[in-house]
């Protein structure tokens, strides 16, 4: 996984609530056995017209936001299915950070496994950031994960919070499977105890 320390980028405003994972990556594009290449299908139902051409109204199709690395959205972002294809698609599209008042649990967890940073902030702050983002390509944000700070285009600094372990893993690009495998002995001890108490769970 790539390390995430800080980014400086344009933010695209998507003032929609309950953006579900079917919207982020429709199920007809889940038929892949790879993790990469999903960016072209991200938001495809609203990003493209029926004839396959781009929908000019969709925010990420607008010239100012084509290089956006940050998405600012409404509450309950990422609700619905557990598909990790959602963060894969967003990242393949070039996004590195999503800022919203709230996220669905599974999506939120999936983001961290892939180096996509989800930031929760109160609605009034989101409203402000949304206004900043609407100013387009000149409105550059900085997201600093080490110091847990967002710097707004006009220089204002906003603090955010993230679980310390997740922050550590993202900054160092750590694969948590590797970390857990080191606990092998503890896991074996647990299994031995459980097997003694609930033998029916083992073959």
């Amino acid at each position: 996984m790539d390390k995430f320390t800080s980014i400086r980028a344009v933010a695209a405003p998507l003032p929609m609530i309950n953006v579900d994972t079917d919207m982020i990556i429709p199920q007809e594009h889940l038929k892949t056995i790879a993790r990469s290449g999903l960016g072209k299908y991200a938001f495809s139902n609203i990003r493209y017209n029926d004839d396959g051409s781009e929908n000019a109204d969709f925010i990420l199709n607008q010239p100012a936001y084509r290089s956006a690395e940050i998405l600012i959205a409404g509450e309950n972002f990422g609700c619905g299915s557990s598909r990790e294809h959602a963060p894969w698609a967003l990242m393949d599209l070039g996004l590195k950070c999503v800022i919203a008042p709230s996220f669905a649990d599974i999506f939120y967890g999936n983001c961290f496994k892939n180096g996509l940073l989800p930031i929760k902030l109160p609605q009034p702050i989101i409203d402000e950031l949304m206004k900043d983002a609407e100013r387009g390509a000149n409105a550059i944000f900085t997201v600093d994960l080490e110091n847990l700070e967002i710097t707004r285009p006009d220089g204002d600094v906003i603090k955010f919070e993230i679980d310390g372990f997740r922050q550590h893993c993202l900054i160092n690009g750590l694969d948590d499977i590797g970390l857990t495998i080191e606990k092998d002995e503890k896991i074996s001890i647990f299994e031995d105890q459980q097997k003694a108490q609930q033998p029916w769970l083992y073959k």
């Binding site: 007809e28 038929k31 990790e84």
Partner: protein
């Protein structure tokens, strides 16, 4: 004496391998179910890192999302991509030594239906699957939740997950259900009450006589939809009904082991005085047959209702969301829900594809005919449900009435296989999601109970089952 604990706390505590920094715990996972869509990248990850599966005996694999449901399914997978995923599952299971139920096996079906049927789902266990509706298994008093593909790989390699404890949310419902009201209506009414984010960060325990009185099938329907309320998992304490269901299932403990297990399972109850972070009491008398009108499960109303408008909504995002849903669904504020004509009816899915659901439909459609204007599809959730229905002669009733009686799979619950709606088509569906595009691009879904779906098939429009 230790502090009184909830059912969730008890299962959690019994699975902590290690408390970690910043409030995370390493939690042991007892059971892992996999399907073709969310597992290939996890197997690939193991292969690339040269890691073995820690416990192949704790995994069960079955294809469900992409499989065709027509009689000629063996030769008819609809696309190269589907075939690639189905083949990959079979190949990966062979390579890593995982038990795999092939598409043409009588036990094949939707992951959340076959887990319980095979006795793989047991009370007190932790169960995961790369699928959000894993919450279904909570009906057995198991802590069951959906995970992403990276976590699938984490469980494969370590049989654990790094998790933070969820909040305890209790939803209590006591008393008898009214005429025509089913577990599905209860689930929809709960989501209507607390919203699709109402359970975020929580595990919901469903308590009270209404849930106790439900069959295991009904309990599974309720827990299945817990995720639509935003919860990580749903839970119902195990009781005699649970044990009765589990007893004799192929992978369930037998004989003395079963007695020993029941002994343990009897301890899986929230203690008197256990503290919940939040408690919600709903009056069962307020619940009538439900139907969704919009594009989120929280857009739900009693069937007697009318399509809402956005005029009185002050929050701009809420207002935009309602307007968008109305436009997408092709509805006008004030229209009576019972005036809406449907093009298709879909009965099935992990929400309502069990034998009891099949029986409920048969009861409604027996001796009646599906309206000329409607295509009606009934898809059993597993091969065993299909066999049982056929044994009871239900298939004849369905076919006689004009239903298309299919082979098991996820089918029209989501547009990943050949069963889907055409753009703009309206469907009364017993599945769990009415998101934009869920049943195919521009599809329009109204979530209902099996009996209500059956009634819509007969009349050709959304119908109050109590009036039929």
């Amino acid at each position: 004496m230790s502090n009184p604990r909830t059912l969730y706390d008890k299962i959690w505590d019994a699975h902590v391998v290690e408390e970690q920094q910043s409030g995370n715990s390493l939690i042991y996972i007892d059971r892992h179910i996999i399907h073709e869509v969310t597992s290939p990248q996890a197997f690939e990850g193991l292969r690339v890192a040269g890691r073995p599966l820690r416990r192949p005996d704790a995994i069960l694999a079955v294809p469900d999302h992409n499989v065709p449901t027509t009689a000629d399914r063996a030769t008819r997978v609809d696309s190269i991509e589907s075939k690639t995923q189905l083949d990959a599952l079979e190949r990966n299971c062979a390579e890593f030594g995982v038990e795999y139920i092939p598409m043409m096996d009588a036990r094949q079906g939707i992951v959340h239906i076959i887990g319980p049927e095979q006795g793989f789902t047991l009370p007190g266990t932790t169960i995961v699957c790369g699928d959000s509706h894993t919450s279904t298994h909570g009906a057995f008093g198991a802590l069951a939740f959906g995970i992403g593909t990276s976590e699938v790989e984490h469980v494969m390699a370590t049989q654990t997950l790094i998790l933070k404890r969820s909040k305890n949310l209790r939803i209590d419902l006591s008393g008898d259900l009214g005429l025509g009201v089913t577990a599905k209506d209860v689930a929809l009414a709960i989501i209507g009450t607390i919203g699709t984010a109402g359970g975020t960060g929580s595990v919901i325990e469903f308590t009270g006589s209404t849930f106790r009185d439900l069959s295991m099938e009904g309990r599974m329907t309720v827990c299945n939809m817990a995720i639509e309320a935003g919860a990580r998992a749903g839970l119902i304490e195990p009781d005699e009904k649970t044990y009765e269901y589990v007893k004799g299932k192929p992978k369930a403990p037998k004989g003395a082991a079963f007695e020993m297990a029941v002994n343990y399972w009897n301890s899986l109850k929230s203690d008197e005085g256990a503290k919940y972070d939040k408690e919600i009491f709903i009056d069962v008398a307020d619940i009538v047959p439900q139907v969704t009108w919009g594009t989120s499960p929280e857009d739900v109303l009693p069937i007697t209702g009318v399509v809402p408008g956005a005029d009185n909504i002050s929050d701009p995002e809420q207002k935009a969301s309602i307007e968008r849903a109305l436009h997408y669904m092709g509805l006008k504020p004030g229209e009576k829900l019972t005036d809406l004509k449907v093009d298709k009816v879909f009965i099935g899915s992990c929400t309502n594809g069990r034998i009891e659901d099949m029986r409920a439909v048969a009861e409604v459609v027996k001796g009646r005919k599906v309206a000329d204007t409607v295509d009606a599809l009934i898809v059993p959730g597993s091969g065993l449900v299909r066999l049982q229905a056929e044994e009871e002669g239900l298939d004849k009733i369905f076919i006689e009435a004009g239903f298309d009686w299919r082979e098991p799979g996820c089918s029209m619950c989501l547009g990943m296989n050949a069963d889907r709606l055409k753009p703009g088509e309206r469907c009364a569906s017993t599945s769990n999601r009415n998101f934009e595009g869920r049943q195919g691009p521009s599809s329009r879904t109204h979530l209902v109970s099996p009996a209500m779906a059956a009634a819509a098939a007969i009349t050709g429009q959304l119908t109050d089952i109590r009036e039929l």
